[in-house]
């Protein structure tokens, strides 16, 4: 197993990938998120958002203002449960 430093475990984003992104001109966390994928996995940034923000600043990027936009659900939810929310008028489940 190689000596990688992981900043986002959910999407396997390495510190090297963040460094690359900033070197390519992505200076704010939203842009770095879109390029590297950090914060878009299972935990939706709970473990990596603050760390990536600190790393982007350390690498010369912009000071963060807002975290990346959070979307519901805040916690993993199955499609089956989500499907029960929609009432399309059909009495059949």
């Amino acid at each position: 197993m190689s000596d990688k430093t992981l900043v986002c475990r959910c999407e396997d984003v390495t510190l090297h990938a963040i460094e690359e992104a900033v070197a390519r001109g992505h200076r704010d966390i939203e842009s770095v998120k879109r390029y590297t994928g950090f914060g878009t996995g299972w935990c939706q940034g709970k473990q990596c958002s603050a760390l990536c923000a600190r790393e982007v600043v350390r690498l010369g990027g912009d000071m963060p203002t807002q975290p990346v936009t959070p979307r519901p659900p805040v916690h993993p939810l199955s499609l089956a449960e989500l499907a029960t929310l929609v009432d399309d008028g059909d009495p059949e489940p």
């Binding site: 990688k4 430093t5 396997d12 390495t14 519901p72 805040v74 029960t84 929310l85 489940p93």
Partner: protein
Amino acid sequence: MATVRIQVDGDEMDVSAKDSVAVALVRSGRWLLGRSVKYHRPRGPVCFRERCEGCLMRVDGVPNVMTCRKPVRAGMKVETQNVVGSASFDLLSITDWAFPKGLDHHHMWTRFKPTNDLMKKIARRVAGVGTLPETVMPPQAVEIQRVDVVVVGAGYAGVAAANEVARRGASVLLVDEARARGGEARLLSAAGLEDEDEERVRLSPPVAYRRKTTALGVYRERPNGEVLDGGIVLVHNAEGLCAVECDALIVASGVTGGAVAFPGNDLPGVITATGALVLLSRGVQPQRVGLVGDGPLLSALSGRLRKLGVRCHGPFAGTEVQAHGKSQVETLRAGKESHRVDWVVAGAPPSAAGELAVQGGATMTWSDDGFFVDAGDDGRTKSPFIFAIGSCTNRRGEPALEQAIAAARLATRSS
């Protein structure tokens, strides 16, 4: 101690009836629970509070079960997912070995369309988390509720706010994802670090309280598109979903520590400070621990570990160390020294669990190396519907409690 027999990757195992699946596995010495999505690196539980990806396993034919809080059951079938082979020998981990600097999917094999199409086909097959469940879930009805105020988070601040709302004659629903009230304070006391103040978690009736209930989202309009002055909070527990319509939401959801950057930081056995507190509270004790990073919990934890006779190394800065091991952490290298360890506890500056507040219209700020919900001393945020209190706003102790009371008063002003 009552035990139950479960099956893990085909082998039978007797575990404590009170443990969650992940805790039972860690207690038995197994930290390697699965492999990561891209490089198939060994992974294991890290946060022990359903806020990471480390403990995901297939349980009784259902994929992606967060085993850190899944209670064991007699006859339960637990399987590693996401591997070709086994957890300890996954053929797909060749990706990790073949790309020591990482695989740049933006540029790799993008030059020629046919090779790119083939790569995408392979990636789609191989990537992802888990496979479909064996049986179809039966439909469950959604419960609809209406209260004046919802409080998310039953730590000291949340409990204080809920009690004040009830005292003022408004209806309140208090929810918390954990099995008992008290939040961070309860975790510290359960791990033996400090005494819990029972007064702070006592509920004045008629506060409606649901434990092991997670708030999933906040909506400012009904499904039919009708915009609300208040909102709907979607909550979830073992019984299913509940849509709670309310006039105000008080977010007291606390903070998360998050990851610390150093080589090998994703090895099974590298855990957060709260993860260590959960294990200690379950009576799982290491012999040797490496401490990395900082944060208030880390120093409190190291004091407790030393008192328990645990050999502690550090704390070291993330820039000073590397973690090594084959399928779980074995050594922590700091400079020229190499320390054998059972756990590495990585502590990070706290950052708010503020997603709900932001969904409802609040904003966050960056301070003290973390994100916090932007709220006043009275809990007010940019949104008249959302109040935020306690550690998620970077306040603790007495200021947090005063903020909780003030927010409860404002939230019930029109009630």
